[in-house]
């Protein structure tokens, strides 16, 4: 790791809210998406002469299509409740990283062009003309938001900055200012089938190699089936699980769980990606197209159940949006959704999270576990933002917090939670979500990780924690990268099914 060119915040026993430092992150600019990438997604790649008309047209379009945006533009009273809630503000002190100020970047344009007071007295209500400088500010600060929704928990009106960031990015794309990282991924997933651009044959090789590894390790022939027609379960997991460390350890864990349960399952080369970056960019149709691969694979393979691997934003899209986008769920009244829903097994929730699946097996004593296999670890659990605040597991509200913890406690003996205000619904984002997991944003990522790293440091000091489990591919990749900046070993982070993998007894 090269020495960083920016200051890394210092650990504190209690997190302190910094004094504002205007412009401290204004230099941040991730790479702009190039022409071929933009063309594939149907966007321009540079500002045309009519950029302003296009921006305002798109803003009006989104205001008419999204009640969230419509209401959130009007309802904010500038009370300040959210100002100390964003991990990027806490780590960078740039006031434009306060949720209200991030929203205000758009709201001041909304007021100027869409409200009466903003049209007649802009100076009075904080309305401003849309200029190229405004767009530059949007581009910078809408890529310093991981859309983690922490602010929406604390807003008295539930204003969710993620909705504003998504709209901002969609408008930027529409005028030709896309972000390279996210948009290239959206190209790869649609052309090749996954975010990493791993083609079918390479995936087959990888899975065969993993099967050999597991058999060499355990002596048990655990399979990783691909494109098996008529399998009962389709597993859709983030493509990082196929070859990134520590992700792959969890993939091995899922395979062992399926093996132990004696169930037929398969991966799909067509839908070899649970992630859906369409969420981050706020384009419904792109998100729908990416999600449709799952529907197509399910119909093609004739599976009865769909289970999603450890991935935060993917689980939000799967749990909250798949039924809407693709009919993958229940209670569809239209031919489109009925076609898929009559194929699915109605005894189980669809889709199901791998943690829900494993926890059911544990509760039914259907798998054997030896928690002492994880005795070398003192474990804490990082709630991933999209799982915590944008989804659920199980039948009860809050199951997304209890089920992963219950699994950990079943497969390991040493568990300590981090401070209450930093987990659960108030969890701090890893700092790399929402399309920011790129090296050109490393300063944002390191500073944004600060509140989580600080909470982790406290349990490391007090409880000797040496492992942080999480169920998100982005969290795992982000922590692997930023842990060393804070003096921790990168292998401290791993998946919940990595722990399951170590403890499960196979015969």
């Amino acid at each position: 790791m090269a020495a960083p060119e920016f200051e890394i915040p210092k650990f504190k026993e209690h997190l302190e809210v910094p004094k504002i430092q205007e412009g401290s992150m204004a230099h941040i600019k991730s790479f702009i998406s190039p022409q071929p990438t933009q063309e594939f997604l149907g966007y321009p790649w540079e500002l045309g002469e009519d950029w302003k008309e296009r921006a305002l047209f798109k803003m009006g379009d989104l205001l008419g299509k999204y009640r969230s945006l419509r209401v959130f533009m009007d309802a904010c009273v500038h009370c300040g409740a959210c100002t100390d809630k964003c991990h990027y503000y806490l780590g960078s002190a740039d006031p434009k990283n306060m949720p209200v100020a991030r929203q205000e970047l758009m709201r001041k344009v909304y007021r100027r062009y869409f409200t009466l007071p903003g049209k007649i007295a802009p100076w009075l209500v904080g309305a401003e003309d849309l200029t190229k400088e405004t767009l530059a500010d949007w581009y910078s600060y809408y890529h310093q938001c991981s859309e983690c929704r922490r602010c929406s928990v604390y807003c008295p009106y539930g204003i969710d900055t993620a909705e504003v960031t998504m709209a901002g990015r969609e408008i930027l794309n529409y005028v030709g200012m896309g972000q390279k990282y996210s948009n290239e991924i959206l190209g790869k997933v649609q052309k090749i089938g996954n975010n990493l651009g791993l083609p079918g044959p390479a995936l087959e090789d990888t899975l065969a190699g993993l099967e050999e590894d597991i058999e060499a390790d355990t002596g048990v022939p655990v399979k990783m089936p691909l494109d098996v027609q008529g399998a009962e379960i389709l597993l859709v997991t983030p493509s990082a699980d196929f070859f990134s460390e520590p992700h792959v350890e969890s993939l091995i864990g899922y395979a062992k769980v399926f093996h132990a349960a004696g169930v037929s399952w398969t991966l799909s080369s067509h839908a070899s990606e649970a992630g859906n970056f369409g969420l981050f960019n706020g384009n419904y149709e792109t998100m729908r197209k990416v999600a449709m691969r799952i529907r197509d694979a399910a119909l093609e393979l004739g599976v009865k159940r769909i289970i999603v691997g450890e991935c935060g934003h993917a689980w939000r899209v799967a749990y909250s949006f798949w039924n809407t986008l693709t009919g993958l769920g229940f209670d569809g009244k239209d031919p489109f959704s009925i076609e898929l829903q009559q194929q699915l097994d109605h005894r189980y929730p669809q889709p199901m999270h791998i943690c829900e699946y494993t926890w059911d097996l544990i509760q039914n004593n259907a798998i054997k576990l030896d928690p002492s296999a994880n005795d070398d670890k003192v474990i804490t659990y990082h709630d991933s933002c999209n799982v915590a605040r944008g989804s659920r597991m199980g039948d009860e509200a809050g199951g997304q917090f209890t089920i992963p913890r219950n699994i950990i406690k079943a497969v390991a003996n040493n568990f300590h939670d981090m401070a209450a205000e930093t987990i659960g619904e108030g969890t701090f984002c890893c700092g790399g979500g929402g399309g920011l997991l790129t090296d050109d944003l490393i300063e944002v990522r390191v500073k944004g990780a600060y509140p989580r790293m600080n909470a982790l440091n406290n349990v490391v000091q007090e409880e000797k924690v040496n492992f942080m489990a999480t169920i998100c591919a982005i969290c795992k990749a982000q922590f692997t990268k930023v842990l060393p900046y804070y003096g921790f070993d990168r292998s401290m982070v791993g998946g919940v099914h990595q722990l399951v993998s170590a403890a499960i007894k196979l015969d």
Partner: protein, 245 residues
């Protein structure tokens, strides 16, 4: 009938019309705009009754704000509860005979004005004292607080310092409602109070005061968490299923 009375008759009709028509239009606009995706901030209630309970806690207790910041909560809640009691007390000027509860609330409504103004003062102080809040405050944020405090103080002046001719004022208000117009008392403090109230009514539908209807339409608070069990789809999104299913 003096020209002053005529002016205030006109002002209150116009203000009432703008308030009601403006708010009705906003509510129509919010309700007409679809919410294409399920985005409740979770953990969220899984039933409609649960959502109603969550919304009630937000509207009555300011639950999220309580989680967020105790100072803003104390000041904000004092102001809103004070205002609610004060407004309820004012029903006495619009009905004859009075309901029992309106009579009962009179002393509470009178002293609630102190809570209301104290809350507003606290909220205003934060706009100067907390650097983050100072950064996000616009001129209109200060002016709305000034307006509300001026309404509160002018009202309290009439309750506690210089009483206005309350019998004639009530006759004027009842006259507005029955189109049987009566002269308005002319003491300055009353005229200031009434003018500012009319101004507040006029700006309500075009200002941040829209947070009042807005919260009921906030998808993160008013949606049930049941996306797997029920297919939620907006009309414009359903068209995509038909076009390129």
């Amino acid at each position: 009938m003096t020209s002053l009375t005529v002016f205030y008759i006109g002002l209150f009709y116009v203000a009432t019309l703008i308030l009601i028509a403006g708010l009705a239009y906003r509510i129509y606009e919010y309700s007409r705009t679809p919410a294409p995706l399920k985005i409740p901030t979770t953990p969220a209630p899984t039933t409609n009754a649960g959502v109603a309970y969550r919304m009630a806690r937000e509207v009555v207790l300011f639950e999220s704000l309580f989680k967020s910041n105790k100072w803003i909560w104390v000041f904000g809640w004092l102001f809103h509860v004070g205002l609610a009691l004060v407004l309820f007390r004012h029903v006495r000027y619009f009905q004859e005979p009075l309901w029992f509860v309106v009579e009962f609330v009179q002393p509470f409504g009178k002293y609630a004005s102190f809570a209301m103004v104290a809350g507003l003062a606290g909220l205003w102080a934060r706009r100067f004292l907390v650097d983050r809040v100072r950064y996000i405050s616009t001129p209109s944020d200060h002016l709305i607080l000034a307006l509300l405090i001026a309404i509160g103080l002018s009202g309290m002046m009439m309750s506690f310092v210089a009483h206005t001719d309350i019998v004639n004022l009530k006759a004027f208000m009842l006259g507005l409602m029955t189109f049987d117009f009566q002269p308005l008392p002319t003491d300055t403090i009353l005229l200031v109070h009434l003018t500012l109230v009319a101004l507040l009514m006029i700006i309500f539908p075009i200002s941040k005061l829209l947070h009042a209807p807005g919260i009921f339409f906030s998808p993160t608070r008013n949606q049930t968490d049941n996306p797997r069990e029920h297919r939620h789809i907006a009309p414009w999104a359903a068209a995509l299923d038909r076009d390129n299913g």
